[in-house]
């Protein structure tokens, strides 16, 4: 089971994501964005950072990197893709998950611990999260204010596309519609969230709740890989 972590110019959480994937029991390696293939990765992570300096709009220029064609094909085959923070912005710009990430309502770069309600445990990204367990994860972003027009938000909710919501007592840190912190595509194999699970993958870092998401991914992907191997 191999996790590939895409490295764009300006990514800065790629090593943390690789480390977290290894803690969760996977092989993990960086994927330079100019390579047009995924090097056999079973799972792809788009990490946090500031790809292309966030110029124009966060995530938009990275969307056109050569690796994104391979990533789109991977997602089209049902392959798992997780976008974290800037990676979520890239997925949204690429249209692989719904919505857009606007400037934080506070106009400030927000970096602090938040609490997440896990709305779904029946996804490959959350299967290892115990029932009723909230996650304590850090955020660090200037553009995390989740936006979709109201009718589309209703449709997103109706198909259970919201996976993570900011929860009290810290609450919504950026003005996101309906406290949305993370969403999943309609097929259920591409997920994006603003908080950083890879920065909370060891108790030493203040929380190891993030490891639950990496474990979910690795265990889900291993099941798929095993099933494919047996077929």
């Amino acid at each position: 089971m191999k996790v590939g972590v895409v490295v764009f110019p300006g990514s800065n959480c790629d090593r943390d994501a690789i480390h977290a994937a290894r803690l969760a029991g996977a092989e993990a390696e960086p994927l330079w964005h100019e390579r047009p293939d995924l090097h056999g990765a079973d799972v792809v992570v788009l990490p946090g950072g500031f790809a292309y300096g966030d110029y124009l709009r966060a995530g938009v220029i990275a969307r056109f990197s050569p690796v994104m064609g391979a990533l789109r094909e991977h997602a089209g085959r049902g392959g798992l893709v997780l976008g974290i923070c800037n990676g979520f912005q890239v997925l949204a710009e690429a249209g692989l998950v719904p919505g857009a990430l606007l400037r934080n309502a506070s106009l400030r770069f927000e970096h602090r611990w938040v609490r997440l309600a896990v709305e779904r445990r029946d996804t490959p990204f959350t299967a290892a999260v115990p029932q009723d367990r909230q996650l304590r994860l850090p955020i660090a972003h200037g553009e995390g204010n989740y936006f979709l027009p109201e009718p589309e938000l209703d449709a997103l909710e109706a198909r259970r596309g919201v996976v993570f919501r900011y929860a009290p007592p810290e609450g919504n840190p950026n003005g996101s519609s309906r406290d949305i912190a993370g969403v999943i595509d309609s097929r259920g194999n591409v997920c994006g969230l603003m908080p950083h699970p890879e920065r909370a993958a060891e108790a030493l870092l203040g929380s190891d709740d993030g490891l639950l998401l990496f474990r979910s991914l690795v265990e889900s992907a291993a099941r798929v890989t095993t099933a494919a191997g047996a077929a």
Partner: protein, 87 residues
């Protein structure tokens, strides 16, 4: 082939939170300015396009505007020839 010069104006759509516009507005009292409102902040992109015809060049700029310069979900845009825009 001829070269055509364009300006693309990108603005947050109506109803979309425009925190930059709001921030600018909140500075106005410090300048002793009254009676200014509805400040909205967008982006301006200028570019030159070499193409066989003006129609071809304009079509390319329209495509770039919708795919790259603006996010249609949250932003609206307008493409103009730069000479016209400066007039």
């Amino acid at each position: 082939m001829s070269v055509h010069r364009y300006v693309v104006s990108v603005m947050p759509r109506e109803g979309i939170l425009d925190p930059q516009g709001r921030a600018v507005e909140s500075a106005l009292p410090h300048l002793d300015v009254r009676g200014v409102r509805d400040v909205r902040v967008g982006r301006r992109v200028e570019l030159s396009v070499e193409a066989a015809s003006e129609g071809e060049a304009t079509a390319l700029v329209e495509r770039l505007a919708g795919e790259l310069f603006a996010n249609p979900l949250i932003e609206a845009w307008r493409v103009e020839r730069l000479e016209e825009a400066l007039r």
